[in-house]
């Protein structure tokens, strides 16, 4: 499986690329929206801000949306998950609108939500082989608020919010699997398996 890791022009793409490689994927890093729209499988990494990331994708937002809805397996991580939704309080403008709902500021005494947190047990394939007590690394000030039934796992920090969402081959995780040690690497491997299954 060849995975295209989206480069918005900022941030660290090493860890996610290495994590996916460990899971047996071939990595292509791309900043070309056209190339991304034609990918076998897409990963939107979790670095940067909503507005800036969408700015870099804007020219091809509609073909990207079509590709993702047309079952190109997609994984959005943190910010990468958030841009799959329609709007965000972080920046004006539309997201990719692949998932219904919005992104809003997390309500907690201390923000960003920074560190390792538990997530609720999920029977989804994405969490196969990952213990119910696994902890994942989060670094977020915003959370997704879906208006359709896509949440497959939740976490609690200040409030309860989605830790992972899935609609068919579209997956989003609020935490950083590439920074979450063994359970994170397992989750990336599961995503690759899901992608291969749909190919």
């Amino acid at each position: 499986m060849k995975v295209t890791v989206v480069d918005y022009g900022v941030g660290n793409l090493h860890s996610i690329s290495k994590g996916l490689e460990r899971a047996g994927a071939k990595i292509q890093v791309s900043s070309s929206p056209q190339e991304i729209a034609g990918a076998e499988s897409i990963v939107f990494p979790g670095v940067g801000a909503f507005g800036a990331a969408m700015e870099s994708l804007r020219p091809e937002a509609s073909s990207l949306r079509e590709a993702i809805l047309g079952e190109t397996p997609t994984l959005g991580i943190c910010l990468g998950m958030q841009i799959l939704f329609e709007t965000s309080e972080e920046s004006p403008g539309e997201g990719l609108s692949v998932l219904k709902g919005s992104v809003r500021r997390l309500k907690a005494p201390r923000v960003p939500h920074m560190g390792w947190n538990n997530v609720s047990c999920s029977s989804d394939d994405l969490f196969e082989g990952i213990g119910a007590d696994a902890q994942f690394y989060f670094a977020n000030s915003f959370i997704c608020s879906p208006t359709e039934k896509v949440t497959i796992s939740e976490t609690v920090y200040g409030e309860r919010f989605p830790a992972a969402v899935r609609k068919g081959t579209v997956v989003g995780v609020q935490f950083h699997p590439e920074k979450s040690g063994e359970p994170g690497l397992k989750l990336l491997a599961n995503f690759i398996r899901i992608s291969e299954g749909s190919a």
Binding site: N12, N117, V119
Partner: protein, 254 residues
């Protein structure tokens, strides 16, 4: 469910090697960055902090190479600091594999840098390091690896950097650093209670009890330590098992 308190080994790096000093002076070589980082990751470190103590532009290339080599083997977050002066420096560090970048001197010299970085990369990767030294009843912010005193009050400065977009504070007590007599609980608590971002306490760790103290009484979100780990006095696993037995939430790794 609860957010775990983090245990963060710190690698002070000079000319590509990990060193450790006392009160910011007298450095001795304790190993190479990637192998120490991996060792700590295996012991259950929640994050690794990598500080270039040279903090010179001349060392930038060496630093980039060391960061890249370290990042390649880590699947836990890596924070890099020391000598980061400009927006481009922050961007470069992120590109070579840092997840967060820590700025101190440059933030004091140009507070707008904090906002600029937060807007471009997100607050979660902007860490402001505050080196504080007690003067009378308060603490003054120091820059240039602790060699210069600013006129900034540490508590006020902490509030300001948060307003400007910092996502985390790495707080070092210069009075306690390297002395191994415990963290500065009063300083830590004062900063934690003044801001709404996570605070990493640093400087003074000599025993596990010190870590327990700063995470409970000091109310810190994370504890950073260097020498207790470098000299194999303790492993991260030892620290976590004691914290867990005291009811402090930690990430457990086998």
């Amino acid at each position: 469910m609860a957010l775990a308190k983090r245990i963060i080994p710190c690698l002070d790096v000079k000319d590509g090697a990990v060193v450790k000093g006392v009160r910011f002076k007298g450095l001795t070589d304790v190993g190479d960055p990637p192998s120490l980082a991996v060792k700590y990751q295996e012991q259950g470190a929640d994050e690794i902090v990598f500080l270039d103590v040279n903090a010179t532009l001349a060392g930038a290339e060496t630093l980039r190479a060391a960061v890249q080599k370290t990042a390649e083997q880590l699947f836990v977050p890596l924070t890099v600091g020391g000598g980061v002066r400009t927006f481009e420096d922050v961007k470069t560090m992120l590109r070579v594999g840092a997840d967060k970048v820590s700025i101190n001197t440059a933030a004091v010299a140009d507070p707008l840098l904090i906002t600029e970085c937060a807007n471009a990369f997100g607050s979660q990767c902007v860490v402001v390091a505050i080196d504080a030294k007690r003067v009378g009843d308060s603490w003054l912010v120091h820059t240039h690896s602790g060699t210069r005193s600013s006129q900034l009050d540490a508590v006020e400065w902490a509030k300001e950097v948060c307003e400007r977009g910092a996502g985390e504070i790495l707080l070092t007590s210069m009075d306690c650093d390297g002395v191994k007599d415990g963290y500065d609980i009063e300083l830590t608590k004062s900063i934690v209670r003044s801001v709404s971002v996570p605070v990493i306490a640093s400087g003074g760790c000599g025993t596990i009890e010190h870590i327990v103290e700063v995470l409970s009484e000091g109310e810190a979100d994370a504890a950073l330590a260097a020498s207790i780990f470098h000299y194999n006095e303790l492993s991260v696993r030892d620290v976590k098992s004691l914290l867990a037995s005291r009811g402090i939430p930690v990430r457990w790794c086998g």
